[in-house]
């Protein structure tokens, strides 16, 4: 009876998200053809390359945040190495074009396969441990990747970064005039990533991954294999991150070592937590909001108003990352569900349903699985 009541109204309203989603995608798709100005948020009217490039970047990071949310929100794996796979996509495409001389589409394919192989190897090892140690190990792997990229300047361009070999990319994706096409390309990437994430979340695999997040022991007792399910989810998330990396490479016509750094992973984490862990739309909101804020705060940091302030105010205000870090801390401490979680909780409470926050439940699962650790001398 309770089950029916919980599902009843949902089934009735289930077409609403689909319609809203489709309408949003349609709106985003025709945006380059419209002349809308949002001063203070977007630098130029929507049909101009400046705004389109910014929105494209937002969508790339939204796709990346979505892939990370699959990892953290659905499978409950706190990885600090997600940038490695994003970088693998970006550098993979660059290297495939520059050193193998293949055309764009096979290049993208090579980049995705490369990301998948790296994810499989590193994921299989890292999943020997779980919880916090897993976070440390993935961080170490990403760091090794970052060192490799910085050292082998012959292949990756080292600190200078790698620029896109434009001769091998079709003309319609090159240059400021074609920002519009790149914008549509990233929109397609975002939609693909969203659909794959949706598919994984609603599939048997996704259920198994979520069950494993809640109680790994019980899943094992049922005769299922949590390790395999988690590894598959990990690899899928990594390939999606590589796809976002490919889009980033095309959009920026190049990449720098920051694309594989721990900094970027932390940035993704900030986006996902800001948007709300465990909510697909939250990840998108987080990715877009973070990118816009970062861009806006950088503009404010360089403005004359800030330059005229006394040091105590000027220094913090001229560091966008400081402000974003503080915002992140505040969200974690006072708004643990992020934007989406808070709205969802408010909505559920209004309808008298039970509220659960994703991070909190992950902690509970952790506490159950945790073996005692000791300090020994």
């Amino acid at each position: 009876m309770t089950l029916q009541r919980a599902q009843g109204p949902r089934r009735g309203f289930s077409w609403i998200p689909v319609v809203v989603g489709a309408a949003l995608v349609l709106l985003m798709a025709i945006l380059p053809l419209l002349n809308i100005s949002i001063p203070g948020i977007l630098p130029t009217p929507t049909y101009m390359p400046g705004t389109l490039a910014l929105l494209s970047l937002c969508m790339v990071f939204a796709a990346l945040a979505l892939s990370y949310n699959l990892l953290l929100g659905s499978a409950g794996m706190l990885s600090f190495g997600h940038a490695l796979y994003f970088g693998a996509g970006a550098y993979g495409l660059g290297i495939a074009l520059e050193h193998l001389g293949v055309p764009l589409w096979p290049g993208i394919f090579i980049a995705l396969i490369g990301g998948m192989i790296i994810a499989f190897a590193t994921g299989a090892v890292a999943m020997r441990v779980s919880g916090i140690p897993f976070a440390m190990v993935t961080l170490a792997f990403a760091q090794a990747g970052s060192v490799l990229v910085r050292r082998n300047s012959g292949v990756t361009g080292g600190e200078e970064g790698l620029s896109l070999t434009t001769e091998l990319v079709p003309d319609f994706l090159i240059g400021v005039i074609n920002t519009r096409n790149l914008y549509w390309f990233t929109l397609v990437v975002l939609v693909i990533v969203y659909l794959v994430v949706l598919w994984v979340d609603t599939s048997r695999l996704g259920h198994l991954a979520r069950a494993t997040r809640e109680n790994e022991q019980r899943v094992r007792v049922l005769g299922l294999r949590p390790y395999r399910a988690k590894l598959i989810v990990f690899v899928i998330a990594a390939v999606l991150a590589s796809l976002a990396g490919v889009a980033y490479m095309l959009l920026q016509s190049g990449t720098v070592p920051r694309a594989v750094s721990a900094d970027l992973t932390i940035t993704i984490l900030v986006m996902v937590v800001l948007g709300g862990v465990g909510f697909r739309w939250g990840a998108i909101v987080g990715g877009v909001l973070y990118t816009l804020l970062d861009q806006r705060l950088t503009v404010i940091a360089g403005s004359e108003v800030v330059a005229g302030l006394p040091d105590v105010l000027r220094i913090p205000l001229s560091e966008p990352l400081f402000l974003l870090g503080v915002l992140f801390i505040l969200v974690v401490m006072f708004l643990p569900g992020g934007i989406a979680g808070t709205i969802d909780a408010w909505w559920r409470r209004r309808r008298g349903e039970k509220v659960r926050l994703s991070l909190r439940s992950m902690d509970d699962a952790d506490a159950e699985a945790e073996a005692p650790v000791e300090v020994r001398v």
Binding site: V125, G131, P133, M136, F141, Q143, D363, A367, V373
Partner: protein
């Protein structure tokens, strides 16, 4: 031969530095199950303040060098205590959120340090003796390595004595073993959390000032680089085990130095391979308890 000795001793010296950072991390994790990403920020701030102190008193004298280390330890301890009280304590028992908060803190702190002290590394100076070398079996060992080793041995000894002999050390060890039991006995375990954070922060602060002399510069990113190696060391040594952290520090650093000198600078990479091997063979680390 001299090359071998040089590599070995510099490896142990670097291991001493890793231990200074990793000891605090390992203690904090062992007691509270918090992975402290802000540890690098403690270290960096201590290095900057230590450098300011040394500059004010004249960099060449030993007095200012020792004082800068002391100030570094105090700054590290104060920063860590504040972090525990303001950020960690309100999120009691919520480990993932605690990790996220320290991530945010390190994110914000690095940006703030860049804002205050600039993005470029600042070259520093110390007592002239640190720049010289001492000859051991034909190998000329830079003197900074000796200082690192002495500091690490002192910190290790102090920690061991503290944990074994004092009342608070005993509470901490008991708290790690079974926290609810200690609480049931009427002891406020949470006070020892703050204490552990302060101790870890002080060790990181000493490590920060010395790391600055080791690299001969100080920048906002000093801590982040070291922190990753400290993470690797704590995982290899076994989370929560102080002895494990000490052994793993030396092991990792010596291996790293050997790979750097004999295998054309692949040190960082070899360390990660070692980490992968340890995880495959023994996921709980060298001295970690079997999960």
């Amino acid at each position: 031969m001299s090359m071998l000795v040089l590599t070995l001793i510099t490896g142990v010296g670097l291991g001493a530095l890793y231990f200074l950072v990793a000891s605090g991390l390992s203690l904090i994790y062992g007691l509270m199950h918090v992975l402290n990403f802000a540890h690098g920020a403690f270290l960096t701030l201590s290095a900057f303040i230590g450098w300011l102190v040394a500059q004010a008193l004249g960099t060449a004298s030993w007095g200012s060098f020792l004082l800068s280390i002391l100030v570094g330890a105090l700054v590290g301890a104060a920063f860590a205590t504040l972090t525990e009280l303001v950020l960690i304590r309100p999120l009691y028992e919520r480990h993932i959120e605690q990790v996220l908060v320290t991530v945010g803190l390190s994110f914000a702190a690095v940006a703030l340090f860049e804002g205050i002290w600039g993005t470029d590394p600042i070259n520093i100076a110390g007592p002239p003796w640190l720049k010289q070398t001492t000859e051991v079996l034909g190998a000329r060992i830079p003197n900074t390595y000796w200082v690192l080793m002495i500091a690490a041995v002192l910190v290790l000894a102090a920690l061991v004595i503290f944990l074994q002999k004092t009342r608070y050390g005993m509470i901490i060890r008991a708290g790690v073993e079974n926290r609810s039991m200690v609480t049931a006995l009427g002891i406020d375990v949470r006070r020892s959390f703050t204490l552990v954070f302060a101790i870890g922060g002080a060790a990181a602060g000493i490590g920060g000032v010395l790391a600055m002399h080791y690299t001969t510069f100080v920048s906002a990113h000093l801590g982040s680089t070291l922190l990753i190696f400290a993470f690797i060391v704590t995982v290899i040594g076994g989370l929560g085990s102080l002895t494990g952290a000490a052994i793993a520090s030396v092991l990792v650093a010596v291996l790293q130095q050997f790979a750097n000198s004999y295998l054309s600078g692949t040190g960082d990479f070899i360390v990660v391979i070692l980490l992968a091997l340890v995880l495959l063979v023994r996921p709980s680390g060298i001295l970690g308890r079997k999960a």
